[in-house]
């Protein structure tokens, strides 16, 4: 008799629960939950949010674990709760622990040591982002207790090695070859990949410039490792010794922290002006390690025929400006930028624009601030008629002082502004310019 009793108990199905979407939290990441579901219980609606079939759901919680914003929760239905109560009475219910599966470490990762920074150069002049990267690289190397090195490719560029020492590199890996005179993907790729394969750095940082993006993508593909582009923050997870890479994700509306756990090197790129310049110590010394480029000109699929330099006078570098007066959709027309030019004039600044203003044809592309334009960190940023889409904010939020003028009090620009003025920019800007002129005139007289 006891036997049949036990059988009966076994037949009670152990409740596994179901999952549901927490209203308003889904960011439509592209259906990670759907991809993970083993029983096809999840479909996506046209907004890209999951629709969960409770009939099919087996409560395995795979979707819960994979959701980047914890938008899916596990729960028990009323009926299941009743069964659980019953099981509890019989002492047969134990709360399940969701076990965190520890990522298996791929062998050989420990062979990789050291932080490397790519020094990007053109005609022997280094891109300043390279030095900015040495600044953040030094911090990472200290936290890991490893060396900071730079690697430089080019033709007759030894002088840059000393510059790299001055900005904190302890070692410089150098490949000099006439083939490397002008940047071309193939020879730079070959040189970089050979260096990384031979010396095995654990972290490789590159500038997210045109050249840097071109090279970084190719290198990561060749080495079959992860690349996190356009990072805005780089830190070390001290417990595991991993590079924590933070960047705007899913259209820039949220920040994601990204790890490259099982591949080496951990590659990341950072845009110019995102990291501060480190101090320069001209007396710093280091070791230069020379390598050869194992490639012949005939093997290269690309030839540079000619380089056309733009007139320096025409070139406006908003990224280097100390004061930026920036206009957005609220400027309404190209001619209205005149009032911003007047304000910028008195402040010794430059006029920049949001993407909306550039797309409307009011300002040229080289003046565009934001994710698809330039990242700037001036001392003063005055945003006029810019609502502040996150793509704009990520391009200017590190400015020392941000002043926003906008009619809409709820515009996101006010969330990053140090000083905000809610009102009509066409009234405020001219008055401000006049006040500043008066002050300047008084100072001059005194």
């Amino acid at each position: 008799m006891t036997n049949s009793g036990e059988e009966k108990r076994k037949r009670v199905k152990r409740p596994r629960g179901k999952v549901r979407l927490i209203e308003g939290k889904c960011i439509a990441c592209g259906g990670r939950c759907q991809a993970e579901c083993p029983v096809d219980a999840i479909t996506l609606n046209d907004k890209g949010e999951p629709i969960i079939s409770l009939e099919k759901c087996i409560g395995c919680r795979k979707c819960v674990k994979v959701c980047p914003v914890s938008a899916i929760e596990h729960y028990y239905t009323d009926e299941e709760l009743r069964i659980i109560e019953e099981l509890k009475k019989q002492g047969l219910w134990k709360e399940e622990q969701i076990e965190e599966k520890e990522e298996r470490k791929t062998e050989g990762l420990d062979e990789y040591r050291g932080v490397w920074v790519f020094v990007e150069q053109q005609d022997g002049c280094a891109a300043t982002v390279s030095w900015e990267l040495l600044g953040v690289g030094a911090k990472l190397a200290t936290d890991l207790g490893v060396e900071l090195s730079a690697f430089i490719l080019g033709d007759s560029i030894e002088h840059l090695a000393y510059e790299a020492f001055a900005y904190g590199a302890q070692k410089v890996y150098l490949i000099e070859d006439p083939i490397l005179k002008d940047y071309r993907t193939e020879p730079y790729l070959k040189g970089t990949v050979d260096l990384i394969r031979k010396y095995k750095p654990e972290i490789v940082l590159m500038g997210a410039t045109g050249l840097g993006r071109d090279l970084a993508g190719a290198v990561a593909t060749e080495l079959e490792t992860g690349l996190t582009a356009d990072c805005t923050g780089l830190t070390i997870d001290k417990e595991r010794g991993l590079l924590e890479q933070t960047r705007p994700a899913f259209g820039g509306n949220i920040m994601a922290t990204i790890l490259t756990q099982n591949h080496r090197p951990q590659m990341a790129s950072v845009r110019p002006h995102v990291m501060p310049m480190p101090p320069r110590n001209p007396d710093a010394k280091g070791e230069i390690i020379r390598e050869k480029l194992n490639m012949r000109e005939e093997d290269i699929r690309v030839k540079v025929i000619e380089i056309i330099r733009e007139e320096q006078a025409e070139k406006i570098d908003i990224a280097g400006a100390e004061v930026l007066v920036s206009g957005g959709r609220g400027m309404q027309a190209a001619e209205n930028f005149k009032i911003l030019e007047e304000l910028a004039g008195i402040l010794g600044g430059t006029v920049s624009a949001s993407r909306a203003a550039v797309d409307a044809g009011w300002m040229p592309y080289e003046r565009q601030v934001g994710q698809t334009g330039k990242t700037v960190r001036p001392k003063i940023y005055i945003a006029c008629g810019i609502s502040g889409a996150i793509q704009h904010l990520v391009g200017m939020q590190d400015s020392d002082v941000i002043i926003a003028i906008n009619r809409d009090r709820d515009a996101p620009i006010f969330e990053v502004a140090h000083y905000g003025i809610v009102g009509d920019l066409f009234q405020i800007v001219p008055i401000l310019t006049r006040k500043l002129r008066e002050i300047a005139a008084k100072k001059c007289a005194a």
């Binding site: 994979v66 993508g217 793509q391 990053v416 405020i428």
Partner: protein, 265 residues
Amino acid sequence: MKVAVCIKQVPDTEAEIKWDTQKGVLKRDSIDPITNPFDEFAVEEALLTKEKYDCEVYAISMGPERAQDVLRNALALGVNGVYHIMDESLSGSDTFGTAYALAAAIKKIGDVDIVLMGRQSTDGNTGVVPGELAAILGYTPLTYVAKIREIDFQGKKIVVERAIEGGFEVVEGKLPAVVSVIKGINEPRLPNLMGIRKAAKMEIPKWTCDDLGIEKNKVGLSASATKVVEISVPPPKSQGEILKGELDEIAEALASKLLDLKIIK
């Protein structure tokens, strides 16, 4: 003589985005999916190439069901054919997984001389897929192209102008090549009503991983070398000060603040 153009559907991130600060989430009602703006230049360049050299143009997009909208738009503009790469296993792919799947589709189309694509997407913004795609296919990478000067399909050569720091370089590359284009290379056309009508009726062929012979361990979320381990909503800073009062007072206050910052010498 075949040209493939890769296009991506992205959220219209320039639509006004507002935060629901109570819930700490994005108000999504206003965000419609659109063709990645940079890819519109690639499509236009492909159409111009078609008109000039009488080649065939195929558009490819990878994405969920709704991504077929961007392909339909390309059809309306006049491409010869489109292919929609759609497979649940591809969801959550990183840039490598994306490039790998696109490469498989390009191989399946066969004899593609030029792959055109935008320099980057406006949602992921990494700008590394063109380089990765070229590396996987073994094609010549030509990124940040501001002008295609000449294509010699028979001689397997292309001459382009690439944007570089402080100017342009004129480069000759061997075909096949992956060409990523920048804003301003052309003026993208709009589809006409006839084109839209015609495209609305057309069947959009779908390719799954199996169709493309994609090894599933190379794509999708689980294959990504990079893993998102934490997501945070940028906290509203809002320690800023809203200046209030009459216009004159506000301007006065702001002027004195600028003075304090020692901007006016």
